[in-house]
Amino acid sequence: MTRINLTLNGRAQHREVEPRQTLADFLRDGCDLTGTHLGCEHGACGACTVLIDGLPARSCIHLAVRADGCDVRSIEGLRDDPLTVLLRRHFHEAHALQCGYCTPGMLVTARDILRRFPAPDEATIRRELAGQICRCTGYVGIVEAIRRAGAELANQPS
């Protein structure tokens, strides 16, 4: 076991982890943060996307030991994040989820898209969402929700 110290959803954590444990399993099994979903477990589906030091990361292909000294934020830690609150409302209104399994990763990635591309158009959103798989195939609603959220942001006085 290796000791790690990290900030998780804003709170300092001191934990012992096995080197082989992924960050996703650490969050789900070690910290009871089951909002991080595991789909493919090899970096292809994007359901497990979280933020490491503010950057989207696939927690199924990160080792928990490497999160030592990092700031990790899972979907639970974005509850009051203004951008996530905005996206959640548009996901609701545009019917951007069916079963909800991909939604945590979709929200984390959508947040990153809006941070990097102001008022993104549909082509940009679809390109940037290529790594997030929705097996309900609800992409029309998801893309529309992100587009509407971006448009609302662009119309807000800064």
């Binding site: 096995e18 080197p19 992924t22 477990e41 989207p56 199924c60 490497r66 290529a130 790594g131």
Partner: protein, 275 residues
């Protein structure tokens, strides 16, 4: 899809890293981990010890001289995509970086890790070969330099010796008269390539470099096509030279793959030679 058990070391200096890699049978270096972690989950890699290179000093540095820019092996695809590191290639590196996998992968995957793994379908080996880059390699006995042609030996095979670590790449600066082309064929945005065409016209009297990537082995320079292009050939003559070079680069390619390869290289040439 859970990795097998292994030990973990995070050396703070290069000598410690060499010692860790050489001191344990079955030790492997860990870069960004964006390919190695899936391989661990799929159990196609089973190291006894992972030596994490993330905190070694200098691997993320980018240094510039008049003739070239050295890009540290630990620089991420996203850093190159965003233009936060100096670009010797007049946009080629940024274009290539943006097409690698997905942003969450690009945030952590590194240029050195991608080359050291030498996946035949990866983007950086083909791109750096086209740019005539030189790898800087450190080992217990000191540093050595190896052109990409000499570093890349085959699928998942490089000239890196046990205990050696890629420090970075010296990439020659392209001049104002240079042109490049890049065409990657993949089944979807972010997927590994089925074929890659990469073309660099240095424009300073140096010959064109035409590379076919995503073969079943290493990326290959296409010498007859480059010579034909340098002579100003086009049309059927250039096409015949390309087909011969593609046959030599991937002798077992079926007709579909030969057509893919011809298309990507032709499109890259068209990009590089268009007004």
């Amino acid at each position: 899809m859970k990795p097998p058990a292994f030990d973990y070391a995070r050396p703070a200096t290069l000598p410690e890293a060499f010692a860790a890699l050489l001191g344990t049978e079955g030790a492997m270096a860990l870069g960004g981990g964006q390919s190695l972690l899936p391989m661990l989950g799929l159990r196609v890699a089973a190291p006894s010890l992972l030596v994490d290179l993330a905190r070694l000093p200098g691997l993320r540095e980018v240094t510039e001289t008049a003739a070239r820019i050295r890009i540290g092996a630990g620089v991420t695809h996203a850093a190159i995509e965003d233009g936060v590191v100096a670009d010797p290639s007049r946009g080629m590196l940024r274009r290539v970086a943006a097409g690698i996998a997905y942003r969450a992968v690009r945030n952590f995957g590194t240029i050195g890790g991608a080359v050291a793994l030498a996946d035949p379908a990866a983007d950086w080996p083909a791109c750096l070969l086209a740019l005539d880059a030189v790898a800087i390699i450190a080992g217990p006995d000191g540093e050595r330099r190896l052109p990409l042609e000499a570093l890349l030996l085959g699928a998942y095979t490089t000239a890196l010796e046990a205990g050696e670590i890629l420090l970075g790449f010296d990439v020659p600066r392209l001049g104002a008269a240079s042109r490049w082309g890049w065409c990657k064929l993949a089944r979807k945005q972010g997927a590994y390539a089925d074929s890659i065409g990469a073309v660099v016209l240095p424009g300073d009297g140096a010959p064109p470099r035409i590379v076919l990537g995503a073969t079943t082995s290493r990326p290959a320079l296409l010498p007859h096509a480059a010579a034909a292009l340098a002579r100003g050939e086009a049309g059927a003559t250039l096409r015949d030279a390309l087909l011969g070079d593609i046959e030599a680069a991937e002798p077992d390619a079926d007709s579909y793959r030969r057509r893919c390869h011809l298309a990507t290289v032709q499109r890259a040439i068209a990009q590089a030679t268009s007004a």
